[in-house]
């Protein structure tokens, strides 16, 4: 099947591969160790999936703020975002 119309690049393919691997990982984690809702530093009760969603959405905004407000390299925002996702998942 010709996928030229989707205009794939190695970077975007890598991005979506990471997202899909995250979802597969979360599913396996859920099967191995069923999730329990909890309240951490976030002001709401969250599940593991909620925290991943919050982390990913926040990462998108961290990148937008970084790109819009600074001229520093974007990989710094990516490192910050990964740290944020891990922190939300652990203490959120």
């Amino acid at each position: 099947m010709n996928m030229e119309w989707m205009a794939w690049t190695p970077v975007t393919a890598g991005f979506f591969t990471v997202i899909v691997l995250m979802l597969i990982g979360m599913t396996i984690w859920e099967i191995k160790s069923p999730n329990v809702e909890r309240k951490g530093v976030l002001p709401i009760v969250t599940t593991r999936g909620d925290r991943l969603f919050i982390g990913l959405l926040s990462s998108a905004y961290i990148h937008l703020a970084w790109v819009g407000l600074t001229d520093f390299p974007v990989w710094v925002a990516t490192v910050l975002s990964v740290g944020f996702i891990v922190a939300v998942q652990r203490w959120g």
Partner: protein
């Protein structure tokens, strides 16, 4: 219990997953791909990283359109939600009056969106339109093609006329689902009409009002056809909402890269607001239970 056996229901929603994949996920992936490339034609594309995002985020016209859009959606929710609930409360509970109200309320929802715009163009024309000519006859100058304020009033009126019935119908469905025993208990306790609304009807309508709020926010934030037909985004740029500006960039200028970056930012804004509204309404419900 066998965990896998318990999860067989997932196969029943597999068709939905497949449909969503083809109608939403694959187009979204394509937009992400476009947003990081400069595309000149089939096979002529170059990776440029975050350049389009930088350009779009520093675009003054986009900022203006965003504030305009937020103001519009805010006004829509402030007017349509209480008005819809009020109409639902006033509607007859049974008999022919109830059926008649339901049919009348459903009518604006059945009209195609571009036709709605055309109806309101004619209705508000200052020379021959019933509304426009009547206002002018009263001595109030009204021309939505020349005055930004009049254009906003017209777009708001059209939006409220078109979509308040949806809120009313959902609220009415929520009201009809409340068991009669709640009202009987309230009557025994001598509760006032306000107390019945605040402590019985409003909490019981939380589910449908959540759906109404989310639908109305998303629809109003993504509005395109009606204002495009009615005002074309004018006068000037006074009613150029985000989607109208996006179409100008994507189709008018054929700047696919910036339009794709713009679309993703637009998508993230809608996603964030919907999540915030959803969490806020869930929190209201939790408060009621405690």
């Amino acid at each position: 219990m066998n965990k896998w056996e318990d999860n067989k229901a997932w196969f029943l929603i597999l068709p939905v997953f497949i449909i969503v994949a083809f109608s939403a996920v694959i187009p979204l992936m394509t937009v992400v791909n476009y947003s990081v490339q400069d595309i000149f034609g089939p096979g002529q594309r170059f990776f440029i990283g975050i350049e389009w995002f930088k350009e779009v985020l520093s675009d003054g016209r986009l900022h203006e359109a965003l504030w305009r859009q937020l103001l519009f959606s805010g006004l829509v929710l402030l007017i349509e939600m209480p008005l819809g609930i009020g109409i639902a409360l006033l509607m007859p509970k049974k008999g022919w009056g109830s059926s008649a109200c339901l049919v009348i309320l459903a009518l604006p929802l059945l009209i195609p969106w571009n036709v709605i715009g055309t109806i309101w163009i004619i209705f508000t024309r200052p020379d021959i339109g019933l509304f426009g000519a009547a206002i002018n006859t009263l001595g109030l100058p009204f021309d939505h093609t020349a005055s930004p304020f009049d254009a906003w009033v017209t777009v708001m009126l059209m939006e409220v006329w078109h979509w308040t019935p949806l809120v009313a119908l959902l609220a009415y469905a929520g009201l009809r689902a409340i068991p009669e025993v709640y009202y009987q208990a309230a009557k025994i306790d001598g509760a006032s009409s306000w107390a019945i609304f605040r402590y019985i009807q409003l909490p019981k309508m939380r589910g449908v009002l959540t759906i109404a709020l989310l639908l109305r926010f998303m629809d109003s934030f993504l509005i395109y056809a009606e204002p495009f037909v009615l005002t074309g985004g004018g006068p000037g740029n006074s009613t150029t909402f985000l989607s109208i500006y996006l179409v100008k960039v994507a189709v008018g200028q054929f700047d696919l890269g910036p339009a794709a970056a713009f679309s993703l930012i637009y998508f993230l804004i809608v996603l964030l607001f919907c999540w915030l509204f959803y969490q806020a309404l869930q929190a209201v419900g939790t408060g009621d239970k405690q």
